[in-house]
């Protein structure tokens, strides 16, 4: 369901310091959009917007590539972001600036169908005339084949996102003979695809919008295509790819814009991604206009510099991300709810905010739903003068006295606590802050940094007996369930497994039931559903299986020639909407 925060889980140590402060609204999403202004492009490349800003080569940089290009396999942000303009699903998320909690909109289909059969059946009407980059039209068969391929190619989310399609569970266990014959029914004459689900799913459209449900040609091989990108329908196609040096995207000659919000036509003629530059170097290179945009956040020590020298070239982009410390509810001392609450009370989130770049880019978190997520209601149970029963509107300051009292009641002071953290500057520092806090509370605390790639699964495996594990989580699509249900339901705790995303090992059937009800209500009444999710969030924090730390904003630096309304939630940036000033009209 969502990609974990170690977004660049790849080869580089994850900088848990991607966090950027939230606080103000700022230019982010407020630019007017004037795209799709012209469907009658003239001398331009076919499918390109008729605008003086069309054309040019966009130069992007990232410290490393995202590995496989297979959109149904890849599960890293860099590829997700890049392939948003290469592939389309039946649905998609709006590729325009706007609030964070927008749900999926139709993409390859004419409209979002109304649920039938109590939410278990959907009939999608495929758009006519949309072509893959080889010129072949997208047919209902391609859709059915792509759905089968999710299982056949072992997509990571096949189980959690798509196994409720009728026949999905069978496919999961026997991918080679996967037909989904009862679950996805293409109809060439009506040009429709009918989906049957085993149970209603309020997030079905969102899941279809995720990249793993990209629609690919039916003859795409049923295995990870690796460094070769399958054909797509978006405005660009991937022309060449060297995972250790770079990637080039060029226009898809068969692309014609069908919906300016779902898949707008692109401005640059060519997009080049260079891999291998670390963020510090990338900032310098962009300052010097050697690149236009970088994947990573601007490193903390450069933020002051770019803030003062290039404030007009900085974008702060809200992210639906939450950083937290998972507390193992099955191991002492955190098997005592009072200790978990005590740590929540005691941790100075002001320090956490400072570590992550200060209030401009980091927002202290008090609950496991990030600000802006569906179902989010402001409220902080663990700050001075607040309690789970009487939450304050926001976090103000730690309450060390209360925390010490709770610890004293629990009688656990003096116990040993080991904090496991990914080994990278930002998280190290926060782990150190938590260590100091635990020491103040009377524990014998120490920090154990672990290689980032391993840490994420290490803290999940109950065999490793991790007491406190630092990690973060960001949603694949905006939904409350992708935070609360994924991270804290009984179903996501799998003992002795590296894949047990519920690192707190929290399992409360009453809480599960509450979430199920919220999901059910959301099907028909989003508002009522969201209210229930908010209630679930409060219920969760009363049990405090984790210490929410903060939510960050992305600090993006642009070259002086880059502009445009390209920032959007989920994808963060839509490369097709990046416009390049010509040499003559540099500001």
């Amino acid at each position: 369901m969502r990609c974990g925060v170690p977004r660049s889980l790849r080869r580089r140590p994850v900088q848990l310091s991607g966090w950027a402060p939230l606080k103000a609204l700022l230019p982010v999403a407020c630019l007017p959009l004037f795209l799709g202004a012209s469907l009658h492009a003239a001398a331009l490349a076919p499918g390109a917007p008729d605008s003086p800003e069309t054309g040019g080569t966009l130069r992007l940089t990232a410290s490393s590539s995202g590995g496989t290009l297979d959109p149904q396999i890849s599960y890293v942000h860099i590829t997700y972001q890049m392939e948003a303009i290469v592939y389309d699903g039946l649905t998609t998320f709006a590729k325009t600036p706007g609030p964070m909690d927008r749900h999926a909109i139709p993409d390859l289909v004419e409209a979002l169908p109304a649920p039938e059969d109590g939410g278990k059946t959907y009939v999608f009407h495929l758009r006519h005339g949309i072509r893959f980059s080889n010129g072949r039209e997208v047919t209902p068969d391609d859709v059915a084949a792509s759905m089968r391929r999710i299982f056949r190619a072992n997509s990571p989310t096949a189980g959690p996102y798509y196994s409720h399609i009728v026949g999905g569970t069978e496919c999961l266990h026997d991918a080679e003979h996967c037909t989904l014959s009862g679950g996805v029914i293409p109809d060439d004459t009506a040009w429709t695809i009918t989906f049957h689900l085993t149970h209603p799913d309020s997030e079905f459209f969102d899941r279809l919008a995720f990249q793993h449900a990209s629609i690919l040609p039916a003859d795409t091989p049923p295995h990870d295509t690796g460094n070769t990108a399958p054909l797509g329908t978006g405005p660009y196609r991937i022309a060449s790819y060297e995972p250790n040096s770079g990637l080039v995207m060029e226009r898809n000659p068969y692309f014609r814009q069908w919906d300016a919000e779902a898949q707008p036509a692109g401005y640059p003629d060519e997009i080049r991604y260079a891999f291998g530059l670390d963020p510090e170097a990338a900032v310098t290179a962009i300052e010097n206009n050697q690149y236009d945009w970088m994947l990573e956040n601007v490193p903390l020590d450069r933020q002051a510099e770019i803030g003062s020298r290039f404030s007009d070239r900085v974008r702060l982009i809200d992210q639906m991300v939450i950083y937290y410390a998972a507390l193992n509810v099955n191991l002492p001392p955190f098997n005592d709810v009072r200790v978990r609450q005590a740590l929540n009370y005691a941790l100075n989130r002001k320090a956490v905010v400072i570590y992550n770049g200060g209030p401009a880019v980091s927002l202290a978190a008090c609950q496991m739903l990030p600000t802006g997520a569906p179902g989010f209601e402001p409220g902080c149970a663990y700050t001075k003068g607040a309690s789970p029963e009487h939450p304050a509107p926001e976090w103000k300051e730690p309450d060390l006295a209360l925390a010490k009292k709770l610890v004293a009641e629990s009688g656990t002071a003096g116990q040993k606590v080991v904090i496991v953290t990914p080994q990278s500057g930002g998280s190290d520092a926060i782990a150190n802050e938590i260590r100091s806090t635990l020491t103040d509370l009377g524990y014998v605390a120490s920090v154990r940094p672990i290689t980032p790639v391993i840490e994420f699964s290490y803290i999940q495996n109950s065999d490793n007996n991790v007491q406190v594990g630092l990690t973060g989580w960001s949603a694949d699509y905006p939904s409350a369930s992708s935070f609360l249900q994924t991270l804290f339901s009984c179903a996501t705790f799998i003992p002795h497994s590296d894949n047990s995303i519920n690192a707190s090992q929290f399992c409360d059937h009453k809480f599960d039931a509450l979430m199920d009800r919220a999901a059910e209500v959301s099907l028909t009444d989003r508002k009522a559903g969201d209210a229930l999710w908010a209630e679930a969030s409060r219920a969760l924090m009363a049990q405090a299986p984790a210490v929410p730390l903060d939510q960050t904003r992305r600090v993006a630096l642009m070259s002086s020639r880059l502009h445009g309304a390209f920032d959007t939630p989920i994808y963060e940036a839509i490369f097709s909407q990046m416009k390049l000033r010509r040499a003559g009209d540099q500001p």
Binding site: P13, L26, E280, P299, L300, D301, R302, Q303, A304, E305, I306, G307, S308, S311, V314, L316, N348, K350, A351, I354, Y355, G357, G358, P359, A360, V361, Q423, S424, G425, D428, A429, A431, N432, E433, R435, S436, S446, V447, R448, P449, I450, T451, I454, Y458, V555
Partner: protein
Amino acid sequence: MNGPVDTAPPGPWQTAFRALGGNRSAMMALAVLVLIVVLSLIAPFYAHDIAHTDPFRANVAGSFMLDGRAVDIMQANDNPLHLGMTPAGPTWRPSAYMLGSDSQGRDVAARLLYGGRISLLISFSAAVLCIVIASIVGILAGFFGGFVDMVLSRLMDIMWAVPVYLFAISLSIVTISDGLKIGPFTIEADNLLIPIAIIALVYMPYAARPIRGRVMALRNADFVMAARSLGVPRWRILLVDILPNVASSIVVLAPLMAALALLTESALSFLSIGVQTPTASWGTIIQDGEGLIYSRPMVAIAPGLAIVIVVVALNVLGDGLRDALDVRETSKRGT
């Protein structure tokens, strides 16, 4: 004359020490080293009584007094976007944040002193351990030859075939997440023994080879042959004839190995696979400073300079020793 130093008092050693004492630069290097060791030994005193700070405790939300007014340790910027928190810069006053603060609000000067303890401890211990292992391996291989030599030499071949730093990094990454488990004993990942052992191990072949060569030469030397033909037991030849004669080679290696160990330790810590938080070494401080190199370069520059000074001093001392003991250059270093 090339005789066993059997009964003779350490005549050659005395002359060597006298020669070393007469070497001005070597003596200066020694003085610098002693000074730095003393400085790092008084680290707790400095931190507690002069700077009044706990260099291991994060303190980002705090402030300190400078010229009678409170200064935030982490300072917000007044650029239009309020972007970036910058740690306090050097005050150049020993009373508080003389060299400024790092990104966790800790006093860099105090950390530098504490870091020196760890860096020096690791490099000196690693050098000693390395030389002990290397001497054992080198002497065994050189003295017994044959099968023992073959096994040990092949083992060293394997170690040689991997660039030192890659070797050290591999070992560090393997041990860093879960420590080292040897039978019933567990060495925690943050135990200093781990970097010490790793560094000692990777440089072992570098020290063992010259020792082995020296022992082999000695084994065939006249006086050893003579002792053998007289029926002196092998262990006695080893102890009485060989060991004292390789001792000078070994002694000369020590400061050079310590210099290499210091550089390696800092590199490992820089890649955050050496010394583990909250312990600080010069390498970890450079690593802390990496994120501040553009705004507060002093955090990375100060420990870097400290490393350079110590390594220069060790090298000068090593040169002096070599000249004094009249041993040809034998050592190598990594990149």
